[in-house]
Symmetry: C2
Subunit: 494 residues, 2 copies
């Protein structure tokens, strides 16, 4: 055997023997892979998961275990929110940006309640309680939170707002580990064959371009695996692959804290290597947890020119992503004495200047006269009237910043904590079928989660829970479609 790269496929006709045979081969054991495996196995397919790490998890296990669902869940109803499929769909479309995937959004919106039930059926517990306010994740084991920009302009005008972040019952942050554990248990219960420390080296493709299996390295030996019904790539994004970041999403080079484990882009590269189209590769999510404590949301943000740039009551990730669009390498969050509290240590946000007047703060930051102070004065004048005609911050977050002393907190792209992960990936149908650049499915190849460009495909529109929603729901579709594909082939041949 000659050398391997993950991008170039191995030729089917060069496989002298298959070491393993399965129906559906799932690559990667995060939430996407687990969901795909569960559905494939439940559909009666022999299913094998190959995970390069020594256990399940992936980036999903690093998350809060929060899933963006709506359309009127029992939890939403109990908390008095009247959500609808239409409102969910409208929000997801707006959040999907200039190329939102209307087909995926529509399907997800219609199936969201069923998907929530499916999660419960797998054993994922939800306490059923709502936590009001602007938080990142519950500190408790509560369920429902506002996890996006639903109440913030312009989304509030585009879709009727409702909270949709549904968090697994788990005390404190980090429920993602528990979510994956539950899905793993279910997969194992269904007889899924799990191979860990198993790094997939390449896909195997036949002369027609169909994916017929894969080559995986286990115990330092390459094994040839025949996947009779298809391969499902659930390998995550590429935030840990500095070279891919440079080529495809160089703006993210400015950020130092990838959220990922083995998110090296290998699945995206393998998919591309067999003709899969990778789209929106420049997109990424980023956030700095600057809204802790939430009183700081009543502050205003300015760039290094002293200009505001967004309504600060948007989802913290949208605000953070917009920070990266600003010139320079830092942003200032301005607070007065009434709202100031120290940001959490995790955020690595430092005090850059303090003053008795905003002019003093401006001067201490070395900004020209008439920049920062003028911005605050204009903001204050309108805030006193309970409005923000320039950036449309919701009145509930408006406060005249006139209670000195005043402070400028510095969010520095290099030194503060800006976590990020990538949103670009393989182009897929709602069924998980990977498309080539002509829009045709690559036979035998499926993908889900951050190896694809899915529901969350626009950094400025991301909301918490959107990626896990995409991973679990479209992981399921991919697993089910893969399991069904042999039957379809048989049916077609008859």
């Amino acid at each position: 055997m000659t050398e391997f790269t993950t991008a170039r496929p191995f030729a089917h006709e060069d496989v002298s023997h298959w070491d393993l045979e399965t129906d559906v081969a799932v690559v990667g054991f995060g939430a996407s892979g687990a969901s795909a495996a569960i559905e494939a196995a439940a559909a009666g397919a022999r299913t094998t998961i190959f995970e390069m790490g020594s256990g399940s998890g992936g980036a999903s296990a690093l998350s809060g275990g929060e899933i963006y669902v709506g359309g009127g869940t029992d939890v939403q109803q109990a908390a008095g929110f009247d959500d609808s499929v239409e409102a969910l769909e409208a929000y997801l479309l707006a959040a999907g940006g200039p190329d939102a995937d209307a087909a995926k959004v529509g399907l997800y919106a219609r199936e969201s309640l069923n998907h929530f039930q499916w999660l419960k059926d797998q054993g994922v517990p939800y306490k059923g309680t709502f936590v009001p306010g602007k938080i990142i994740e519950p500190e408790t084991d509560d369920t429902l939170i506002w996890s996006g920009s639903e109440e913030a302009w312009p989304f509030s005008e585009q879709a009727k707002p409702a909270p949709r972040g549904h968090v697994i019952q788990h005390m404190g942050w980090g429920g993602g580990r528990k979510l994956v554990d539950i899905l793993e248990a279910k997969a194992r219960e269904l007889g899924v064959d799990v191979r860990c420390d198993a790094r997939v080296l390449s896909l195997v493709v036949d002369r027609s371009g169909a994916v017929t299996g894969l080559v995986v390295k286990i115990d330092n030996k390459p094994l040839f695996v025949r996947a009779t019904r298809g391969v499902v790539l659930c390998t995550g994004g590429f935030c840990m692959n500095q070279d891919m970041i440079r080529r495809y999403a160089p703006e993210a080079l400015r950020l130092s804290d990838p959220i990922g484990e083995n998110d090296n882009g290998s699945g995206i590269l393998m998919g591309m290597g067999v003709g899969g189209d990778a789209i929106h590769m420049d997109q990424f999510f980023t956030t700095c947890p600057w809204i802790m404590p939430p009183s700081l949301v009543k502050g205003i943000m300015v760039n290094q020119r002293g200009q505001r740039f967004i309504n600060e009551d948007c989802y913290h990730g949208r605000v953070s992503r917009t920070m990266i669009d600003q010139p320079g390498d830092r942003i200032y969050l301005l607070a007065d004495n009434a709202i100031f509290e120290r940001p959490i240590d995790l955020a690595r946000i430092e005090i850059a200047a303090v003053g008795e007047t905003w002019e003093e703060v401006e001067q201490e930051l070395g900004m020209p006269e008439g920049t920062l102070a003028a911005t605050v004065n204009t903001f204050n004048r309108y805030a006193a009237e309970g409005r923000d005609p320039i950036f449309h911050k919701h009145p509930q977050w408006l406060k005249v910043l006139d209670d000195g002393p005043f402070v400028a907190l510095e969010l520095n792209f290099r030194d503060s904590y800006f976590s990020f992960f990538t949103l670009g990936g393989l182009s897929t149908l709602p069924t998980g079928e990977v498309l080539d650049s002509a829009g045709k499915p690559v036979s035998g190849l499926f993908a889900a989660g951050r190896a694809t460009s899915g529901l969350p495909r626009w950094g400025h529109g991301y909301s918490s829970g959107m990626s896990l929603a995409d991973c679990t729901f479209f992981g399921r579709q991919a697993g089910r479609q893969a399991a069904a594909s042999a039957d379809a082939l048989v049916a077609a041949a008859e």
Copy 2:
């Protein structure tokens, strides 16, 4: 033969006979293709150009025929400019953005003078004269102009400024047609076989992954062409392919005036189909010719929030690209009576508001009080001191805007003339060899010009003449490398 797509290659072993044989097959007959063909033929390779249009041209023929060269050309010297290889290299690196290609930039900077001589050797005429001032292209047949952001902050601090736009001797705009005609004549003189109305349908690839030829449709029949030394893709970008724009560069969906002829991305797709890596696909150049008349450069630009966003003395394309980053769908260019002149009709820039004071203009535009007028007032205060500490506009373009009446001109992304073309494309070595995502050359495949991500790979750094510089210079490298590759193979085998 089964169905064709441009993305999926045809299998070499399925070719029953070759209709044509050549050494180097060049796809596309713009400046890149012509330059590649000239070098390939000059190196003794049988060279065939396949052009889908009915004659040479491509987007090159729609251009001004301006080439970004420097390092101390005779024209620069005659005009009293002391340029250097180092300054050229530093500028190109800065203009290349966060992933500037240091290898290409370095080679181009070192070879720039030789390349200018080569252009002259092909018969491209240059009058040798310099036109001062801020213009888009000479109205005359003069040569040298300031064609980028060299004198504007921050570039002026990163590289010693010099004008480097060298325009073919041609009366008025549109010298690109003449440039391609001259290169075409040279190619034909060297015996290049030119096939027009010849649409390449797919590459042919052997089992090792090497490109061995192509399939081309001529007279409505598919012909199999063996290219013994390689295929050179010179097919341009994808600004005419709405579907690719949507998937890869959706921000450009807001722009309505692509500069292109057959720039449908087919070469990029074919390259991707054989494993070529397409990078920085989100990047595009755009410009609205708002600097005609140039007195308007003394105006200032504000977004719909009344904020300035750039030093307006940057290259018009950099200013225009930064406009697209602003929220909303339009930008206002503010002028007073002293500098106001009607923009050229081509630009489709209309007057949005007029007032005796800036407050009146602000109000007429429906902007909240304390936005636009405050911005102008702050600008004016510093301009009176001859400085712009916020945006660093060069003093030569600073003017206090206090000579009423005042006007706000509207640059509307949908209605004004925002031309654009794409900058993302195949990843190539300076030799033109197409790289796969693992950074290895795809054997037998070369590319140049806007089918690649070249010198101009960052919309915010584009300068006039950069694309034609890239097309002609790296077209030459690709043609030469392709012509030499068979010899290299023979040498390796011996």
